[in-house]
Symmetry: C2
Subunit: 219 residues, 2 copies
């Protein structure tokens, strides 16, 4: 292998991280513009504007997931007498939220509190990593159904005439897909994996070894 | 490592494959039941029943993707004077279809016709594998937006009252998510990877070596 390969790999990695951040940030900005410009802005008074916090918090939540976006929806539904949890979007979103909570609690038990054996930790780590990626993809899937639902609730008569709001929201959906694809690629590519630091080595959480699990060792 | 580990791994693999097949088959059957029982069945005469072939072919297309499902939609749109390609579902679906075509053509050029060097093949193989998984996930994402769209076009007034059709279609969406998660898990888990056969070894398409790309070899 020639000397330039690792350097090329690092340059490509930096470029892809840059592009993923641009896509992610553009998604957040476009969500803000959509809700701010077309859907009447934001509020926290059980008005339809409070609902607008939900998509914003959820898209932002791909970066730091908070419960606020959920509360906003149930708040508005109660005030407007709209039933909860009937749509596919709500089912996907709730499944994602429950998986997120399970991932958080189980991750805490296995990795922060010393209640599990290193064998159990090693067995659970690859599942934890996989579920993290599943969570990201489920978040994006939930966003796509949410965008579709919102457009059909609000601009159904003009959506098929390529109303600017519809086109912009579609672009947001495609940006989210691009963001997700690129992020999963970056996280899963062996070449871009961070080598374990000495602390991790001493704690027996050597990621490469652990995530390969019980696979046969190479000769 | 004790003797029972590989056997346990094989048993677990067989179980997970079994569950994935049940989920996949249940998704196809439920799609058929939905369209057959609630949406008037199937036809190929530009009637709304021709549209019903689209979701069925697309869900079946997770197993064997055909162009028929696309033709059905454009056919019905033309007859009913509905604009094409305005919704997020259509954008996601078209992006998936274009990626599928690119994957097919590039895969053919790289692996079937001997026009590329083994170095290029080795560099492309992990991208091809990754794109295959992206395609599966994008198919499922497109199904979720399609289900949401169809329900809001047809049963909007009763969807929020938990109409049986809506609940069944939501269950279909969740089944598809479960099917996708399990399939990606099975495909990506190192332990379940098929060892290369002698033919592949001689053709220098040793999958383990190739997909690991330029990662540093273990000591």
């Amino acid at each position: 292998m020639d000397e330039s390969s690792p350097r090329n790999g690092r340059t490509m990695f930096a470029c892809l991280v840059g592009v993923s951040q641009v896509l992610g940030l553009a998604s957040v900005v476009l969500t803000g513009v959509w809700l701010g410009q077309y859907r009447g802005g934001f509020a926290w008074d059980a008005s339809p504007q409070e609902f607008n916090l939900h998509p914003l918090c959820m898209v932002l939540g791909l970066v730091f997931l908070q419960g606020d976006g959920f509360v906003a929806v149930f708040d508005v539904h109660r005030a407007s007498k709209i039933p909860d949890m009937y749509s596919l979007h709500s089912w996907c979103g709730m499944a994602t939220f429950i998986l997120f909570c399970v991932q958080w609690v189980v991750g805490l038990m296995f990795f922060l509190f010393p209640v599990t054996s290193s064998w159990l930790r090693a067995a659970y780590l690859p599942i934890h990593v996989f579920c993290g990626l599943v969570l990201l993809v489920m978040c994006i899937g939930s966003c796509l159904t949410g965008i579709t639902e919102k457009l059909l609730f609000t601009i159904a008569p003009t959506y098929s005439l390529f109303a600017s709001e519809g086109v912009m929201a579609n672009v947001l959906g495609i940006l989210l897909v691009g963001y997700g694809v690129l992020l999963v690629y970056l996280v899963t590519k062996e070449e871009y994996r961070r080598p374990p630091n000495p602390e991790e080595e001493s704690l027996s959480v050597h990621f490469k070894t652990l995530t390969e699990g019980e696979s046969p060792t190479s000769p």
